[in-house]
Symmetry: C2
Subunit: 481 residues, 2 copies
Amino acid sequence: MKDAAAWRDYFVATDDEGLIALAAAASRAVQSLDQPRPGPRTNLTPAELRARVRALDVCPYEGVDLSTVLDELGTAVWAHGVRPLDVACVAHLHPPSVVPAVVTELSIAAANQSMDSWDQAPVATEVELHLMDFLGERIGFPASASGVMTSGGTASNVLGLTLARSWAASKVGVDVLKSGLPEEARRWRFVASDQAHFSVQRAAGQLGLGRDAVVSVATDSAGAMDLVALDAALARLDDQGLIPIAFSATAGTTDLGAIDPLAAIGQRARERGAWFHVDAAVAGAFVMSDALGPRVSGIELADSVTVDFHKLWWQPFNASALVVRDVEHFDLLRVRSNYLDRGDELEGMINLVGRSLDTSRRFDAAKVVASLRTIGQRDFAAMLEHLVELSDYCAQRIEQSTDFALLAPSSAVTCVFDAPAASASDLRRVQQELLAEGVMVLGRTEIRGRAALKFTFMNPLATRTDVDQLLDIVAERLRAG
Amino acid sequence: MKDAAAWRDYFVATDDEGLIALAAAASRAVQSLDQPRPGPRTNLTPAELRARVRALDVCPYEGVDLSTVLDELGTAVWAHGVRPLDVACVAHLHPPSVVPAVVTELSIAAANQSMDSWDQAPVATEVELHLMDFLGERIGFPASASGVMTSGGTASNVLGLTLARSWAASKVGVDVLKSGLPEEARRWRFVASDQAHFSVQRAAGQLGLGRDAVVSVATDSAGAMDLVALDAALARLDDQGLIPIAFSATAGTTDLGAIDPLAAIGQRARERGAWFHVDAAVAGAFVMSDALGPRVSGIELADSVTVDFHKLWWQPFNASALVVRDVEHFDLLRVRSNYLDRGDELEGMINLVGRSLDTSRRFDAAKVVASLRTIGQRDFAAMLEHLVELSDYCAQRIEQSTDFALLAPSSAVTCVFDAPAASASDLRRVQQELLAEGVMVLGRTEIRGRAALKFTFMNPLATRTDVDQLLDIVAERLRAG
């Protein structure tokens, strides 16, 4: 072996020398974040950013000193990212991250457990199961509940709807993962509101049903599913001989934060023997607050629930979960594999690959547990409640203003609005200008065909004064148009 | 706002005070990895691990001091994980991770860019594209190539085969993601070897074709696809009126490391107008070595290639890529969304959500770039070549030994063997004993219905002496049975 000494330095070692080196490198990585950044991002153009990035040779013949590499990343990359902690970073459900999670990411990467099989993650498997049980309890699920971590809300929704499809197929005696979609699958429909996340449609596309198999139910003025429209849609499906195999309700829509009437939708799903999925990527965090929890009442009726820890739990990407009311539902998915999940393991050795659409998978549960233990339930709930109040305040200010028109009440942490005097292209101009100049990362979307701007409040350190200033900036830009 | 001061400490801040606090916490996280661990893991049972984990309250009412939380994770979790750097951790394609990647994970989490849209990842988008271009060049793709990072080899394979399905559908005028599988999809088949990773079957299941739609082609004694068997299988498909829409070749099978005859398979795919996918999760790294590169010759004919950075590139989970020979193929996937990817952005603002099955997605490209720049091409290639030599050496030793029988030549970094005197249950006993006692994390699988043991060499710091010792331990256990 030629270069054992040189190679040794590349790898994480947990002896004294290795840990000293790792700590020094970590300290340098932290320093590399120390960049002069005025506002939510710098004003470099895409072409300028590209030039700086392309100046770095991805893999030179001979390696570069690690400290230099980290410093280069600082000046070329971290200096020009967006800063989710900046109060003017309000476009998306894109949170600032908490310290316990960020430093635990380092431990996760150093230990590099892989969640697919017990022999790659003996204790990590138990930590993930413990977190899933905790979440199941907060949701109000029975003791039969469990779950699995996924890479994001989209993956969680796809997994939930994959289970729904298998469930429907099993009732007509078909193992759809083995034999493919049966003929009657042409009549299968997913039911969701017209404000549901696009991942519901994407799941239908992926699963071979097609986006057209998603029945889009009209919403009320707040953006929540309208039950009269739902019942009318169900009656039409009955008339056409079509079968709603899954009801996907949303707890916290992407744009309006609206929460569908979960209990009523769940009841209809139950009556029809359909799967009841709740996409609580956004408002799942409400189960942590006594004040906000009642808003997601009915979630405990679900067969599967999506919760994104990388939204209102302030976790760095990626950290999502699919929680199911009955762990046995995962059997719908399980395929034994010779090398990972044979089924002849010793007592208690659980291979989580059996409940996941992934194989190798990182130990994201560790950072969530570290964060929740550090923050505690009281502060967690208080920060969440503060964000909801901040959004309510913003909605009030918009309603009182002559510059803006509120497009829907604030249901969670978003405010969507337009301006009576502004065209769609005015709104686009303002959002793109503020982004290009690095003044504000502002949301832009469409509500019922109407162009709109959007604030998303993810940062508990933001204040009412910050909200006032954000509104002033947008109003001024609109007037300057 | 009630507790701004207390809350402030929870969040990463990039001012002086914030960075000092972050560095201190990072240092404590590193310290928490300093646990007495003899061998690849401790010998605690699943029940004992469970008890220690369950003793931690996931979210107490009042938070616990961060240092305490990190220390608890150390003693309850990190002390009892598996250690991929230990030379006796040889079960899976589960690498020890490199320092530049591990500390960059901290920066990634602190900066928390989200790769779905430019306004959440302006410079990060350019870094990912730069890395994908680099990989495309090493593969030998034309300049039209590009790619996208995914959460793992399974996700990359699913994405590649999703494109293949859309490609086949588009040729008969169907947008399958919109309208669902057309009637003729009953005749669609994926072609892969009987040693292909189970994610190919899983993709077929997910996509609505079913695992039964995967035509399993016999392999030669090394585990590579047999071309005579392939041509026979294709002739049978023709006779039955079935259509191979995708050929999925494997470069580095999970158990044997075998590399299919890529060029010949690619040629057959081309002749039939089918999609050519190469699952190079394992041997994709060979494109980094002049000596090993020729083994994956023909990879440049692919339409899509899976490469796992979290295997032989020594990256912590998750880091995988799907590289396509023509970036326009991603248009098969794209669905505009009002809030993320409207299509009216300023020049150069690319929203990567348009080429991904994920939405929110972490900036894993940063750690790969940091690692490759630090290690350099020379050392990277040398470490990879060392592992292949080590596996060859192990295969020789097994062939020379009367204790063992080699089940196939070593094609990459794995050796699969059994023992003439041992039954399947003897092999199981040895593997489970060594795992339970924390002596060795040994692989166990099945090759052509025969129970087998497996070494997977992922750690470049391992030596021939280590290999000798591993073989001695297994031989002794078998004799003790």
